[in-house]
Assembly symmetry: C2
Homo-oligomer: 402 residues x 2
DNA sequence: CCCACATTCTTAAGCTACTGAACGAAGTCC
DNA sequence: GGACTTCGTTCAGTAGCTTAAGAATGTGGG
């Protein structure tokens, strides 16, 4: 009889992601690869690689780029043409809208930042996308579409409390459809945390074998989770509510209606509120409790700057918040057997020097003692643009696999 | 230009699960279906359905079973032959080993329970599997293999603290390989919580559109999570450590090395310990603090029985535990946008009358107020065998799709 | 009874994406 | 210049589907 004890067996020629996608992904991850290497990595036959690569060369997605000597015939190396296909990523933040033009390799070709629009959202976005494309001087025919990142869910309305005024009332799907009509491009909408995770996955060359979570701090806290190379969007596309993981059973009430949510205890708004309530901390951070409040993200960044500069009260506030975040991060890591935690978004970009070590300390103990694994905690290298890049990556991905 | 705003578009003829699997799944879910209906449900062509069904009929997996009149030619209905292919599910519990023989439809054909073996684990298992098959009088050629459920991870060793003595030191993969050799069947190893989730998914006809979590209480607490019809096993197959979700940042130290873990605060062992520390509760449940301890699951069941019979101290203990479990459940639901929570395993089977309502209460508030979703909490109808059935289902699944 | 008509299922030809195996190409080493 | 090595391509299948046409099997009307 058989003696299989694990996964798939001989007939493992199971339906994978398709040759095109596998090959593009492998080259993107490795930078440059020969056809034989591709065959080895993807598990495809050399014949299949050869045929698929020829088509990719014809389409201009891939170019040959030198050769490496071997014992016999040298290998011809292949790389992606970064500008063969492009996509625009738009990141709708509270007070800034960031536009990014990205190519196949994930690099930012061109960037544009504007204050958040006050009037008609759609026409502003459409106009700015045009400006970005015109200013970068690329062939518009190569642009495949627009990825739109916002703090709300992929489809459905953003929660009122946490949403910048100019985005209130919008539904993700609706926004996508309307912008597609207004701008004349295919539009894909994504949540900011998920987009950030996709961006890291795409740009930072995280392999599909690593299960990872991108923790995102903007004016709230979210998590984008990628396992087996697939973004987890949950039942109705509303996954990633990291801010509403409970870290204190009977903690203070959260605006969501529950108790002890991470966001209520340790989110940027909670940190800012604590700083405003503490005159010493407010002074350190240069916050004026009387003044009209800017976004939580802005005030939070001020506190982080002060803490980094050595302000003790601000540092204490962040350390306190980090304790909670670390506990919630540990929950996620344990629940999903996560390998890699990436801190991203403006909040963590400003304060990772506190949150990173806190998470590592918390996860490290049980990690070594019990789970025999080793979780890596890193800080995104492109926290400011990761989301926008991720959204653009989703657009590219969806078109390139075909 | 295009106006795509969501998922895949025209070329949605994307590589799905394969006709065979789709068709079998559709019939299993619906009970009886005609070919046209199958085409509509699976999205395949009628031609493809026809061909695939013919092969399934030849293999005996599917049988025709009557017809329904229409305006024209009546439909021939198809159903699965429950006994066409079989698999054995083995559930290694602390003091009992349960064997289940399951067919294509998930029904239990035959069952066997034995005290946990004390001597050589493998030979006991192999012998009992033989007994089960012999006793049920089925054709051994129809049996595809054995699914083995244990409290440890799919591959890797079970954590010492939580493992019944006869399983200590085993590694999941090793156990599978060795049992395959000893019993002469292909063996697949799975964690009990994940297996329970698969069992629910398979038996209780949960559709792949629902993201669901099976919370499992045995001598510890775990969660099996299924999203998009796929079990989440995480980076190294160690996902589902629901018991080590943190519900109290600075809670008591857990044996895992961290603090405030659900299991340390509210797991069955914690509940039993609390009952032993409280003479009134111990008396209600008939626990003798001086006696040698049986498994936590057994003592916990005694407490649950007492509570159900009206014992106030025991009820209070469970209510207290349920508060924590509910908070952790809410975390999972929020993090992964879970639709459906199923309570299963001996612990929840005994005490669901407390835990079910507690989870519903906790999740319900924010659900209605903020998330505009509606999470269902149910109790498994076959909590005792769900795990074993699930493991058998995995074996069947892996063979049937080919 | 026989003939539209509706509907279900089957058959045949073709397409896509891959595999296997043989072969051509382009180097190195002696 | 020939043997050898390694890389890449070509060609003929094959699996699994699709599209398009047609066969089977019922209904209701004259």
């Amino acid at each position: 009889m058989g003696q299989v004890a694990g996964e798939a067996s001989p007939a493992s020629r199971r339906r994978g992601p398709g040759a095109r996608e596998s090959i593009l992904d492998a080259i993107r991850a490795a930078g440059r690869l020969s056809r034989v290497e591709l065959a080895a990595i993807t598990g495809l036959t050399e014949a299949a690689v050869s045929m698929t690569v020829r088509r990719l060369l014809e389409e201009g997605l891939v170019v040959e780029t030198g050769r490496t000597p071997t014992g016999g015939k040298p290998r011809t190396l292949l790389r992606l043409d970064p500008a063969a296909r492009l996509a625009v990523g738009v990141y709708l933040d509270r007070d800034t809208t960031t536009y990014v033009l990205t190519g196949q390799t994930g690099g930012v070709i061109s960037r544009l930042a504007r204050p958040a629009p006050t009037g008609d959202l759609l026409s502003h976005l459409a106009a700015d996308i045009d400006v970005l494309l015109a200013g970068s001087g690329v062939d518009r025919a190569r642009c495949l579409g627009v990825g739109l990142v916002w703090p709300g869910p992929r489809s459905g309305v953003a929660r009122l409390d946490d949403t910048p005024p100019h985005l209130r009332g919008w539904d993700g799907e609706q926004l996508g459809r309307d912008l597609a009509a207004a701008a004349g491009w295919p539009v894909l909408v994504e949540n900011n945390a998920t987009a950030a995770a996709v961006g890291e996955y795409w740009v930072a060359r995280v392999g599909p074998e690593r299960a990872f979570a991108a923790l995102y701090m903007g004016s709230g806290i979210g998590a984008g989770i990628i396992v087996d190379g697939r973004a987890m969007r949950g039942g109705h596309g509303g996954a990633g509510e990291f801010g509403h993981v409970c870290v204190l059973v009977d903690g203070p009430e959260c605006w969501c209606g529950s108790r002890g949510c991470l966001e209520a205890l340790a989110g940027p708004r909670a940190v800012v509120a604590a700083a405003l309530a503490d005159p010493a901390a407010a002074a350190e951070a240069g916050l004026d409790p009387g003044a009209a409040r800017r976004g939580a993200a802005t005030d939070f960044a001020a506190i982080a700057r002060a803490a980094r500069a050595g302000a003790p009260r601000c540092l204490a506030l962040l350390e306190d918040s980090a304790r909670y975040v670390a506990a919630a991060a540990e929950s996620v890591v344990n629940l999903l057997d996560i390998d890699l935690v990436v801190l991203t978004g403006p909040g963590f970009a400003a304060a990772s020097f506190v949150y990173g070590p806190a998470i590592m300390r918390r996860v490290g103990v049980a990690d070594a003692r019990t789970w025999r694994r080793s979780v890596t905690v890193t800080v995104s290298l492109a926290a400011a643009t990761a989301s926008a890049t991720g959204a653009a990556a989703l657009v590219l991905q969806s078109h390139l696999r075909r």
